[in-house]
């Protein structure tokens, strides 16, 4: 199915008024994330510094980036879904210009889930930016 963009995600999360429902929806989003091919889950593609395993790769076509990522933790997969909705199909310049903190706040999830290094959110952001800048 078609991925939701940030404003669609914001609308969806706004429907829930407690953390349980927000988390359940996040887990649900994670389950919709296309799974990554096992052969791509290599040491090299691991994003370090997360409490779960996270893999992230990038492909470039016509100047736009397409990212695939996966995790063995469900909530982190949901975070990946949100991240990709902000970065997917964009150019290197667009990726560099994304204010991910603001996007996350726009979704309204920050009161219940602080994006941080521990859950790997910013480690993933760093990897996305690095992959885009290096290409």
């Amino acid at each position: 199915m078609k991925s939701r963009n940030l404003s669609e995600l914001a609308d969806a999360f706004a429907l829930f008024d407690n953390w349980e429902d927000k988390y359940a929806y996040l887990i649900d989003l994670g389950e919709r994330l296309p799974s990554m091919d096992e052969s791509q889950k290599t040491e090299e593609n691991i994003v370090r510094g997360c409490t779960s395993r996270v893999w992230l790769i990038a492909a470039q076509k016509d100047g736009k980036f397409h990212f695939s990522a996966d995790s063995d933790a469900k909530i982190v997969r949901g975070l990946i879904y949100i991240l990709l909705s902000a970065y997917q199909g964009r150019s290197a310049a667009e990726i560099a210009a994304v204010d991910i903190r603001k996007s996350f706040e726009q979704i309204g999830l920050h009161q219940h889930l602080s994006p941080n290094r521990r859950n790997g959110f910013f480690a993933m952001v760093d990897r996305i930016k690095r992959l885009a800048a290096a290409a």
Partner: protein, 401 residues
């Protein structure tokens, strides 16, 4: 007890806090917070040098803290207590000072499979510098050290045994007396270092009676401030070791040709130490003396039984470190959820636990897992905290399965 700890009255994510991460760092009693405040308020000055009243009073408070900590450890000579930043620095001090002086290529250091990275990496650094060899004593599936295999690893080149007193990841209590005795019986020249960070917190420890040569622990896990730790070593051993860092307050006489050093502890305390923090740690051991480490241990053992009974009611949990000799730490995985997901859901329930490898990657590898969920107790932990954990786990299970 809980009433003595202001941070425990705070809410986390709008819920009453169930703080089950004392093995990572303990909450501080008001008495410790007050002692640190007083250290800066009443007559603060640098120690050991000033001739004026404030400096002398602060020096007296700092040295009194050293004396109280010595007594807490069963040590009669307080000059055997070296203040460091933490247990990690205490171990690095032994590796760099004693190790670099006394060990050469081919000499062996014996560790166990359950060591914290703080008792692995300093020896690897020493290995890279000197060519010493690290030998690893295995553990059983229940987390207990395989004492026979340990004894069999003692050899003619063994120079040091470095072992944790209580495993931070599993809560297993190691029989350090037996471990030290086996090493000394094999060869009285073998030195024994014990990492006591998780032990002094949970039970009474008479350090010299363990038969070890060095004992390290950190202050912040012992209800004291961050930034101060302890290394105990026998006086004659410490005074035969060269300084670890150079600077002020550790020298006897400096000439360009040669500098002579003060005896321990001063020779290992270069520069201005964590004065208020050490004084705070003194207040922490006073608090523990009042609470009585025997009754702390008894309470935590009862809580451990209660936790195992309650958590056993939740399907799909697998426990690590199930051997009998245990301190107040419960480590487990769940068949229905990743530790990271469970930790994040528990956070929303107001339950603070640690998830991950607990700085024990080789131990996790031994069990074939990436990490566990660890609930660890302190003297303020109550059954209600464990109830909150069990409730949170049930919620996590329904959300993740």
């Amino acid at each position: 007890m809980k009433a003595d700890f202001p941070a425990l009255r705070q809410k986390m994510n709008g819920r009453s806090l169930a703080y089950l991460d004392t093995a990572a760092s303990a909450q501080k009693p008001q008495a410790v917070i007050d002692a640190v405040t007083r250290a800066y308020t009443d007559h603060y000055a640098n120690i050991h040098r000033g001739l004026y009243e404030f400096s002398q009073k602060t020096t007296a408070d700092f040295e009194a803290a050293r004396k109280r900590i010595a007594r807490f450890m069963g040590v009669s000579n307080e000059n055997e207590i070296v203040f460091t930043r933490n247990a990690t620095e205490s171990i690095n001090l032994v590796a760099q000072s004693w190790g670099r002086t006394n060990l050469k290529a081919g000499d062996e250091i014996l560790l166990t499979e359950m060591e914290h990275h703080a008792n692995i990496v300093p020896w690897q650094l020493l290995r890279d510098q000197t060519g010493v060899v690290l030998k690893i004593a295995p553990i059983f599936d229940d987390g207990a050290l395989d004492l026979e295999s340990y004894k069999n690893l003692l050899g003619p080149r063994t120079r040091l045994v470095a072992v944790t007193h209580v495993s931070n990841a599993l809560g297993i209590i190691n029989p350090v007396k037996k471990i030290a005795a086996a090493a000394k019986n094999f060869n009285s020249g073998i030195k024994v270092l014990v990492d006591g960070s998780q032990a002094v917190v949970h039970m009474p420890v008479n350090v010299p009676e363990t038969g070890c040569d060095f004992y390290a622990f950190t202050g912040h896990k012992l209800y004291g401030p961050t930034g101060v730790g302890v290394l105990w070593g026998r006086a004659e051993l410490l005074n035969a070791m060269p300084p670890y860092q150079g600077g002020g307050d550790m020298i006897e006489r400096v000439m360009f040709e040669k500098t002579t050093y003060k005896d321990a502890p001063a020779r290992f305390e270069a520069g201005t130490p964590a004065i208020a923090e050490a004084i705070g740690l003194g207040a922490a051991v006073d608090y523990l003396d009042k609470a009585g480490m025997k009754s702390v241990a008894a309470r935590e053992n009862a809580l451990l039984d209660y936790a195992m009974k309650e958590l056993d009611k939740i399907d799909g949990l697998r426990f690590y470190g199930t051997a009998k000799a245990k301190a107040g730490i419960v480590s487990f995985t769940a068949g229905w959820g990743h530790p990271s997901d469970i930790g994040m859901i528990l956070d929303q329930c107001g339950v603070a636990v640690r998830t991950g490898h607990h700085c024990c990657m080789p131990l996790m590898q031994r069990f074939g897992i990436d990490g566990t969920i660890r609930a660890s107790f302190g003297l303020y932990t109550e059954e209600s905290d464990i109830d909150a954990l069990a409730e949170g786990l049930k919620k996590a299970k329904s959300m993740l399965s």
